[in-house]
Amino acid sequence: MEKEILEHRLGMNRRRFLSRLSLGIGSVALGSLLIPDLFSKNDEEAAITGLAQFAPKAKRIIYLFQNGAPSQLDLFDYKPLLQKMHGEDLPASIRMGQRLTGMTADQKKFPLAGTYFQFNQYGQAKAWISELLPYTAGVVDDLCIVKSLYTEAINHDPALTFFQTGAQVGNRPSMGAWLSYGLGSENKNLPAFCVLLSKGKGNGQGVYSKLWSNGFLDSIHQGVQFSSGDSPVLYLNNPDGMNKTDRRLMLDKLAELNDASYKEFGDPEINTRIQQYEMAYRMQTAVPEITDMSREPESIIKLYGPDCLVPGTFAANCLLARKLSENGVRFVQLYHQGWDAHGNLPNEIKGQCKDVDQSSAALITDLKQRGLLDETLVIWGGEFGRTNYCQGLLTRDNYGRDHHPRCFTVWMAGGGIKPGVYGETDEFGYNIAENPVHVHDFHATILALMGIDHEKLTFRHLGRRYRLTDVAGTVVKDIMA
């Protein structure tokens, strides 16, 4: 039935387009395209089942996904015991028969690997942060570091898919698509859900478009992938030899042709198509404006670091994320690949941290100085954690870590988040000691911060109601301000 609601809503919009059309083709305001179109938001997006059950704390999300799974033990979850027991076997009493990936299942020994890096305590919460993340340490008082995330998957593909869609397999809508569906866009000239990709030098695992899929939702909710090439959005650029005036001229004639067709057939789809061409035209202006970094002041470049001027880097994507978010994009999803350090971890993780540390922290600072951090939720983390024991050969200064779903760290900041440290793992960093947060709980909490009851944001498809949180999920109120 939700499908019908959706279709009905599209129909409503289409009828509204009709009445707008009577104002005359091409009369759509083309002025300042970057001003969020807040006026027409309410009536278009109101038909959603899960809409704002309580006042939202955050309006937008920027998710800095660290794809491949960063090692919590080398970044946030400080375990001196591992350094003391370096090279000793993981006690069976701790492992408790937990299943292992095929990569270490045949290992005869599981030698504990203490981190190679120095940790210090920072901020009011006295949070432990590794020397690899000096900039992150500098914004620690804005972060809620959750050390007790856990998941069910132990391989990248299902774990990533689980984080993004709430299910390990199956063509479900991704979190951004759910939010686009639930809350719509604040800006008529930009998609509600944008995706930015970057890659580090560490062992990479790839990303897949199903991670930003609309699943069974309408494809307007699909994440729009921005690319660092000449055309930031697929097919955005006019062909060589065609300028903007020329495009306008063509669209006006085209609208005349289509309008004649509408008069003959009365099919509302025709008018929708005319309007979609107008939206496409507006995107052609809005997107290049937003992806243009040349007008950013020196202070901003300094804040994010020089890489932010190199398109396709994580730093550039952080800056772009801020700009998109500032302009009303509901959900900006970044992926930074290269965290899958099965071997040579100390070396690889250094490079990865260098890629992301300064710009992640800069994003927090930048949002804050613009007064936007209160309404923007920023999330940083991977799809699972890494083992406390070594994969492959262990030396004093080199080791690898396998996948570990039982505990890992994610930080959140901004919109409605209470800064601090939440959850604790045991002294081996193997199991959760207190306040476990399942991926479904994490999703439920994010939705709650956006003002949505996760049990009510549903979509009926093939005979059942689907939710991002499937049939589970408890809001972690303790981390909400």
């Binding site: 009905h8 109101a46 038909a47 990569m103 990248h156 199956g170 790839g206 097919y235 198509r273 549903t458």
Partner: protein
């Protein structure tokens, strides 16, 4: 302010729900039916609001009450002494009525915390009347074998052209609707040509049809189209969605695979008009047929098209189970029109499928030789065992429909049984390493009994059970899918769910009549297609009056002809075909046409043969959309943006959206730009005047002659462009630099560029991509 906004939100939400409710069959303004039907009036409400706690799932059942079975609903309530949920004939004594109409939130059903929403007055009135009339339960309509009912009586009999029309017209008349006139010849020819072949009609075909004034002209055209080998390609498109066909393994590293010979077989099977029961039998169990030949074995590739992991470190059994689950889903959704996967973890909450039923079905597929993990991407092979090897000799003989320039032996993943029977267990919560008790292969008992005297407990038995004439689903589901492809929506709108939660058929007698007729005529697919397109219902004009949009916005009652945007592949085909670029080779390895740069590279792990996109050249740039290479982790964007399936899993129905990204594709995709340039160039080579050029281009793309107004717009745009090029405001050289197809330097560049841009505009007309 905030709270005011929220209130506004809430109000609008409610409004929309109310409006929506009015569109429903259960609107409160509707009169109550003479006889309230369990299947059509009551069960949809029960299923939606009650079964989650009082339905088939034993584990979630509350108060030991189930409302899906009469015996339980009539029995004394265990938790409320002396009360009965339903007392037939006595609504006032029925606890159910008291509960659904209560205002006390602790007593009211459904419970407020279930978020299911309460019943409206009309729904409550329906329940009262149904109970008053005896509260008679019926079996779910889709689980009762279809029967042919006599053709309904209609007033306007001269409108009808075949049996279909009696059912359509009688429903229309009951709703106070009148059919449209027949569509004009040009539009009708475009519709039927696109629907049968997936290509626009050629100029010759248009002229022939316009000039043929005989009464049999349309039928002649239909017969000709059904003989075209493009028919098989068009029909295969939908089946590839059902079979989640792709050219890579999916998951993580996503390397290349060779499954396309199976795709070629599907095209061949449709073109040869293999009867649907044979088509299914071979795909389900071709390898197990006595003395199975290679074609029959190749058909079983159907069950091997799903994703395979090559991610190092996986637990093989976890994935082996995943593959069997996928096969079970594809069988049940694609062929049976059911969503049984709920029963993977627990008894189905709405449909009468227990977890045991689910794993009994699963067991049919659990005996293949395949393994969960053959190794990582570094040793990736074109197919995974069990394999069918296809030699060059095979391709010259039985398998001569496989089109490959390469003469080396091909490997395709197919089905093949283990020698010893693998035991199947019900998996606790569907988890691979939690087997509980053993089950034997058996098909869904709620659909039809799986008689083990008649059917062996293997895939052969499953195939025979599936295509048995008493099976209530196979024929209905396929007829409905086909109806959906031709009319834009199924008679059962939820074409993937014929279960309790699915939509009810808009024309149940028609669906049954067609299903039975289909079986009676040897499951002849071409005959079924012809039946549909010969009907007056199909041939109507698509003009939608305001009244019709108001009364029937979705055209569920077909008082106007179908008018829909073309599916993704056919948009490409239309562009290539109308410009003369299309290369009409059938089958062969998938091709890599133009694609925006960097898409594969940005998303790859860097491993495997598909880490970078190596675009093809020459003929491979101009093949039909069905042959575009599908890399599962990054499916072709121009397809997905136009709602093509991403082939992640079995899909029986595509969305039909209308988005700005689609506009950007039509405006800026090099395929469209190149086609415009080439068509312009070809017209210029004919050395005729601009009226001729514009008319011919318009006819090739839109498939009809432009009217005066359209011609005026085209001309004025063409003239403006020509002036701009002549005055060097725009550069003809730059404009013409589109695509790899050879440039003709002898034609006048300014006129060619101006014509090219006018053609681009024609390609962007709504009607260009609409059938």
């Amino acid at each position: 302010m905030l709270s005011r906004l929220l209130t506004l939100f809430a109000c609008i939400t409610i409004c929309v729900f109310v409006i929506n409710a009015c569109n429903n069959t259960h609107s409160s303004s509707d009169a109550l039916p003479e006889t309230v039907s369990y299947n059509f009036d009551i069960r949809p409400i029960l299923s939606d609001k009650c079964f989650i706690c009082h339905g088939p799932d034993a584990n979630k059942r509350q108060a030991s009450l189930r409302l899906d079975i009469a015996d339980s609903a009539y029995a004394p309530l265990k938790e409320t002494k002396g009360a009965f949920a339903i007392v037939p004939g006595k609504p006032e004594e029925s606890e159910l009525i008291k509960r659904i109409s209560s205002t006390d939130p602790t007593y009211l059903m459904p419970l407020p915390e279930s978020h299911l929403g309460t019943l409206n007055e009309h729904e409550i009135a329906l329940f009262k009347k149904w109970i008053k009339q005896g509260a008679k339960y019926e079996r779910h309509w889709a689980f009762v074998a279809p029967e042919k009912s006599p053709l309904p009586k209609v007033k306007n009999e001269q409108w009808t052209k075949n049996e279909i029309d009696y059912f359509i017209l009688s429903k229309m008349e009951s709703k106070g609707l009148k059919p449209n006139e027949e569509a004009d010849k040009e539009r009708l020819l475009k519709r039927v040509t696109e629907d049968i072949t997936g290509l626009p009609p050629s100029l010759q075909a248009m002229d022939d049809f316009l000039n043929d004034k005989s009464p049999g002209a349309y039928e002649k055209a239909v017969d000709r189209l059904l003989q075209s080998n493009a028919y098989g390609e068009k029909m295969a498109m939908h089946w590839l969605d059902v079979a989640r066909y792709a050219d890579s393994y999916g998951y993580q590293d996503d390397n290349i695979r060779t499954q396309w010979p199976w795709r070629d077989w599907v095209i061949h099977a449709f073109n040869e008009n293999l009867p649907y029961n044979t088509f299914l039998t071979w795909q389900i169990a071709g390898d197990m047929l006595p003395e199975a030949n290679k074609e029959e074995i190749l058909a079983t590739g159907f069950f091997r098209n799903h994703k395979y992991t090559e991610e190092g470190g996986v637990i093989p059994e976890e994935y082996r189970i995943e593959y069997i689950l996928d096969k079970t889903k594809t069988y049940s959704r694609g062929i049976m029109g059911l969503t049984v996967e709920c029963a993977q973890c627990h008894d189905h909450k709405y449909d009468p499928f227990s977890q045991k039923d689910y794993y009994s079905l699963f067991a049919f597929f659990n005996n293949t030789k395949e393994v969960g993990y053959e190794g990582d991407v570094s040793i990736s092979k074109p197919a995974k065992m069990p394999l069918l090897s296809i030699s060059d000799t095979d391709r010259k003989q039985l398998l001569n429909f496989i089109n490959d320039a390469d003469t080396s032996t091909l490997m395709v993943s197919v089905m093949g049984e283990q020698d010893t029977l693998r035991k199947t267990y019900v998996l606790d919560r569907g988890v691979y390493d939690r087997p509980t008790y053993q089950v034997l292969p058996a098909a869904l008992p709620a659909v039809m009994r799986f008689d083990t005297v008649q059917y062996p407990r293997n895939r052969l038995g499953l195939a025979a059970w599936t295509v048995n004439k008493n099976n209530p689903l196979a024929a209905r589901v396929f007829v409905n899918q086909l109806w959906q492809e031709f009319f834009g929506r199924g008679i059962v709108k939820s074409s993937g769910d014929f279960g309790m939660q699915g939509d009810l058929p808009t024309h149940p007698e028609l669906l049954d009549w067609l299903a039975v007729d289909f079986m009676e005529h040897g499951w002849d697919i071409k005959r079924l297609v012809k039946q549909m397109v010969m009907s007056a219902a199909y041939r109507q004009s698509a003009v939608a009056s305001k009244e019709k949009i108001e009364v029937d916005p979705e055209n569920a009652y077909l008082s106007r002809g179908p008018r829909f945007r073309l599916p993704a592949e056919l948009i490409r085909d239309m562009v290539l075909s109308s410009s003369g670029l299309l290369v009409r080779t059938i089958g062969g390895p998938s091709v890599k046409p133009y694609q925006p740069k960097g898409l594969w590279e940005q998303a790859t792990s860097g491993r495997g043969a598909l880490a970078t996109y190596k675009q093809d050249h020459g003929d491979s740039l101009y093949r039909r959309g069905i042959y575009t290479f599908i890399k599962l982790t990054v499916p072709p964007p121009s397809m997905v943006i136009f709602d093509a399936s991403n082939r992640d899993q079995c899909e029986v129905k595509r969305l039909k959206t209308n988005t700005p990204l689609q506009a950007l594709i039509m405006l800026n995709d090099p395929t469209v730009l190149e086609a415009s340039r080439v068509l312009s160039q070809k017209l210029m080579e004919e050395k005729k005047d601009e009226t001729y050029n514009l008319t011919k281009a318009f006819r090739l793309i839109i498939c009809r002659k432009p009217d005066d107004k359209e011609m005026k717009i085209l001309k004025s745009y063409y003239d403006e462009q020509l002036q701009s090029f002549k005055q060097n405001k725009l550069s003809a050289d730059t404009t013409l630099m589109q695509g790899e197809y050879i440039q003709d330097d002898k034609v006048d560049k300014n006129s060619t560029a101006a014509l090219m841009k006018t053609i681009e505009m024609i390609y962007n007309m709504d009607e260009a991509i609409t059938k």
